[in-house]
Symmetry: C2
Subunit: 287 residues, 2 copies
């Protein structure tokens, strides 16, 4: 059975292509893709030689982060040697929002005994309340994220403090990526991750809120499936999937704020931004 190996030509922007018909898509919303894809068909002789394999591990030994810390430097020091490193070209580092917010001074003092002081902050950080029930507030942030409490975080921060979302997590990711490239000489991707709920399904999952050096969304339009038919699934959010893989090793309670994911398709490594993920309101059926 021939295997179709994809060559992502992510830099070939094709803004002129029409929005595809949604008849055969599983996407929840029609959306024009932001970049196009070329593919090459290769008849792989041995399946074994092409088996895809990834690994992910928690970066240990990162201490408490305080405002002013340069996260890139902290990560460089933690990843110089085993077991966290050395890093390789194509590794993707997932960094939790919490330490990005701390390093960038996005900490706000609140009265820990007054729930109202938290609530005021939530409304201040949201541009729109999407749903409200009891104490729960779902808001849209100025980044375009829709999440509980405007993404404001009270766990893993000192009592009396709240962590706001970074102002621009793409920029935060790029800064970390650039420092790692400068100091360790490797080209890595960075995903800033946070933990969001979602409609219809219980349990939270990690998602990307900032990206650098790794694709956020892959566009598979024009790609044949294994039977040579056009793909039904046309856009895959690999940044969210990598954030999920990383969460499995970071856990929620032990405060490990960085993980490395190794073995991703090298063709996914490219410039990117959260604009690939945030769905414009006019394309969204659920606001």
């Amino acid at each position: 059975m021939p295997i179709y190996k994809l060559l992502w030509s992510a830099r070939v922007y094709d803004v002129s292509s029409p929005t595809p018909s949604c008849e055969h898509q599983k996407s929840l919303n029609p959306s024009p893709a932001s970049y196009s894809v070329r593919f090459v068909k290769e008849n792989i002789m041995s399946q074994e030689s092409t088996q895809q394999r990834i690994s992910a591990w928690a970066v240990t030994g990162i201490g408490e982060i305080v405002p002013g810390d340069q996260l890139g430097d902290v990560i460089v020091e933690a990843c110089r040697n085993a077991p966290n490193g050395p890093l390789q070209d194509g590794d993707v580092l997932v960094v939790t929002q919490k330490i990005v917010s701390k390093a960038e001074g996005r900490m706000v003092e609140i009265d820990p005994d007054d729930p109202l002081s938290h609530k005021v902050l939530v409304e201040q950080e949201g541009v729109r309340v999407v749903r409200r029930r009891g104490d729960l507030i779902i808001t849209e942030t100025e980044h375009g994220f829709i999440c509980a409490n405007s993404g404001i975080d009270l766990s893993n921060v000192e009592r009396g403090w709240a962590a706001l979302l970074p102002v621009d997590s793409d920029r935060s990711a790029r800064r970390i990526r650039d420092i790692i490239r400068a100091k360790l000489g490797v080209s890595v991707g960075i995903i800033v991750s946070d933990t969001f709920g979602r409609p219809w399904r219980k349990g939270l999952t990690d998602v990307a809120i900032g990206v650098a050096g790794v694709a956020a969304v892959l566009d598979l339009r024009g790609t044949p499936d294994a039977l040579g038919r056009m793909m039904q699934v046309t856009e895959v959010c690999i940044a969210d999937e990598v954030a999920c893989a990383a969460e499995l090793v970071m856990g929620k309670s032990n405060g490990v704020p960085v993980a490395v994911v190794r073995g991703l398709d090298p063709l996914w490594m490219r410039e990117s931004s959260m604009r690939e993920i945030v769905r414009p309101p006019q394309e969204d059926l659920f606001r």
Copy 2:
């Protein structure tokens, strides 16, 4: 810095516990948890010895699946030897919905030149239309999933055929798990995965639609964070996160229908079902 290591006591059901306040949660909906958690605090001497690490790989060499195939047997044969196996206790195998539907004969003939024949099927398989725009239909299925086209799939199936969702993917997962245990003597978890869209964010991600032998949702209530405060995030959907990790190695176009994820917390291995994930309508703010 002491690390808090969690001991999931997943069998201790605690249906009497009240729904937690949502004030400090990031969950999009209040929801009583289905099981409780005990934890033990351990002062780990060396962080390095506890570094969490997972790996995931695509299972190669699985041929075309046809109705009547026993998937457990197919996977057992594929995973007996390297590079796919041998399997170990605690491995989680992610199996795509497509081959489960094929093996279970959930294939329906449609007129490939008449989009209407697909549309009729979509409405037939949905219990409710949630949103409709142009050709796109978001429905709720009888499983309680909310997804495009009632989860009906046209890619990677022969032209003129559509794959319906399995009737009971938990049961499908249990059957595969039981065959692997019987024939290979290892206890693995099984996740049946599908690719769903979601509101607000572009790009699709893989999710669990059936589980066996591995937790679907972890409940972290009562668990302290790294600073000793109560956790803000209380429920994590690890089944969806594992499905995402697997998707990164399976890809969408090369038709690899099974992946192995190794290295997950052994304490996550327990009986489970999709009832942990599907949010009851009365708890949902987005229907």
